[in-house]
Symmetry: C2
């Protein structure tokens, strides 16, 4: 019931591709992350994933095209669709997705986390 | 899979307290609305409701207090909690909630809509 300042939450961590949960509701979670460089190619079998760009520029790579997403823009990756988020410069993203969603989908890599820190 | 520009979507309508759906995912919907003045007191029995302020200032009134929410801030109203959103000046809000959520909760008034236009 208290408000959450999104920008302040980004100040609490620096690591790239490290999702932090800032809120939960209706079985969904609001995630923020700082990203730079390429993530890994992956898909989510059962979950659609919403990306909202807060700062910077996100390049959402699909197998057959890429879409550049700017602040004030959102993009939804439907379940089952392979994607690889990427950013040339540091970019701040906010995601909305089911609590069950794993950020690397069915791919497990060194950067895979099963629980996100709550901030 | 295409991006959505949130600001452009607000340009497609003028009416206050008239929610428009801009995206759906995982049984949830992304709603935008322009608001000014007081809404109605209501609660949602089964759904939490997320408000994200894009422009202006939202005053979220609860029965025992009010919280001012500014651009870049979000507030979640837990299910069952009576609330009455209000704004002195035109304010743009983005909501994230289950598709089943009715904007006036269990209260039915002249402004109640059962379906939101998709834009």
């Amino acid at each position: 019931m208290e408000k959450i300042n999104i920008f302040s939450k980004y100040e609490e961590f620096d690591k790239y591709w490290s999702p932090h949960s800032i809120a939960e509701l209706n079985g969904q979670q609001v995630i923020i992350a700082k990203v730079k460089g390429d993530f890994v190619w992956h898909s989510h079998k059962d979950e659609d994933e919403l990306f909202h760009v807060i700062k910077g520029k996100l390049k959402m790579q699909y197998r057959d095209k890429s879409v550049e997403v700017l602040p004030g823009e959102i993009i939804i990756v439907p379940k089952g669709v392979e994607h690889c988020p990427s950013a040339e410069e540091e970019t701040w993203i906010l995601l909305f997705e089911p609590i069950s969603t794993k950020h690397t989908g069915s791919i497990v890599t060194e950067i895979t986390k099963n629980m996100y820190p709550k901030i």
